[in-house]
Amino acid sequence: MDRRDFLKSAIKIAFSIIGLLSVPFIVSLRPRYIRKKETKFFFLTRLEDMPRRDVKRYDLSLTSDKGSNSQGKSFRIYVVNTNKGWIALSPVCTHLGCLVNYSRTKKEFICPCHGGRYSIEGEVLGGPPPQGLTKLPLRIDNDKVYVGLRI
């Protein structure tokens, strides 16, 4: 083996090693630890401010949840007064995660992105959503209403 061949194979080996080293780098891009989501209850409103009929929209900003990474985030929640009682609905469309709006004239939740339609109780009426809007647990305690969010 002369010097030229030696250098050629040395360069090939060096680049193969660099190439192999890129595998752990690519693997490292995958997050190792995914935080488990748990349901936490947050103060929504007082009992007398709950909707008498139809739908009311609440904008919740999480100032109380100190220390966690949801602090300072805000959430939109719809509370529906059905004949059987209140249900809280997440506004996140089950298709791709846009925020749905409530149309008072049509009495439907309508997703602005791809036209998903939900009934006032969150069931799919039309469009691409695979399932109804997520129902959030409500808890009433001493005239205060708390809503459970998975964060």
Binding site: L29, R30, P31, I34, R35, K37, N69, G72, L96, G97, C98, L99, C113
Partner: protein
């Protein structure tokens, strides 16, 4: 003129012109219209985006609690900050527009035919990379619109069969769009994608230099 002399001396010593003659002084077929400038216009828009992005990167902080504030600061406290950001935004928009028009021109004039397949392929990759630049850049202002656009956009990736979930959490750096996503998108936006784009631009221009401009129909 002294400056002329200095410039001439530099050009003589550096010898920049000779090796680049093939690149800049090449025969151009007759019957070209201004539509043949669209590729060059897209490249110019790319250069302006890259240049203005260099300045923005000095002031932008890709951190969950400070990203939005840093852009407010850029707008209000930095001289010409708003102008700089506007130039970045509009050159990026024009880049996409010019790329679409350039692609249409190539398609209509059938300039993709052999031996120019690689030019077309590298062009398509460049278009996809530009779209990815647009998508990653859209998150960086870290306002409501940016956040939800990224939630929806990355959810689409999650719909890919088999690998969807893995790709989704890898891209987001977790199960939700969070500060980790912001840093990932920032890194993609300012390092990974531009480097890839430079490589494919080189490939694109090399093919043009090698084969010349396609004769118009």
């Amino acid at each position: 003129m002294r400056q002329q002399g200095l410039l001439q001396w530099f050009l003589d010593r550096f010898g920049l012109k000779e090796p680049h003659k093939a690149l800049f002084e090449r025969p151009v077929p007759e019957g070209l219209s201004y539509f043949y400038c669209l590729g060059g216009m897209a490249f110019t828009a790319f250069l302006i985006s890259a240049f203005s992005g260099l300045f923005l990167s000095v002031f932008y902080v890709p951190e969950e609690n400070r990203a939005f504030q840093s852009i407010v600061m850029l707008h209000e406290d930095i001289a010409f900050g708003r102008l700089m950001r506007g130039i970045h935004k509009w050159s990026a928009t024009l880049l996409i527009v010019f790329l679409i028009l350039h692609g249409l021109r190539v398609f209509v004039s059938r300039a993709y035919r052999p031996p120019r397949e690689l030019n077309w392929l590298s062009g398509v990759i460049l278009f996809l990379l530009s779209m990815a630049e647009g998508f990653t850049g859209y998150l960086l202002p870290w306002d409501q619109k940016a956040y939800w656009a990224t939630v929806v956009g990355t959810n689409i990736i999650g719909l890919i069969p088999l690998f969807g979930d893995l790709l989704l959490i890898t891209l987001r750096g977790g199960s939700d769009v969070s500060g980790a996503t912001l840093i990932r998108f920032y890194s993609l936006h300012i390092l990974w994608l531009p480097i890839l784009m430079l490589f494919f631009l080189w490939m694109h221009f090399h093919m043009i230099r090698k084969l010349g401009i396609a004769r118009s129909l």
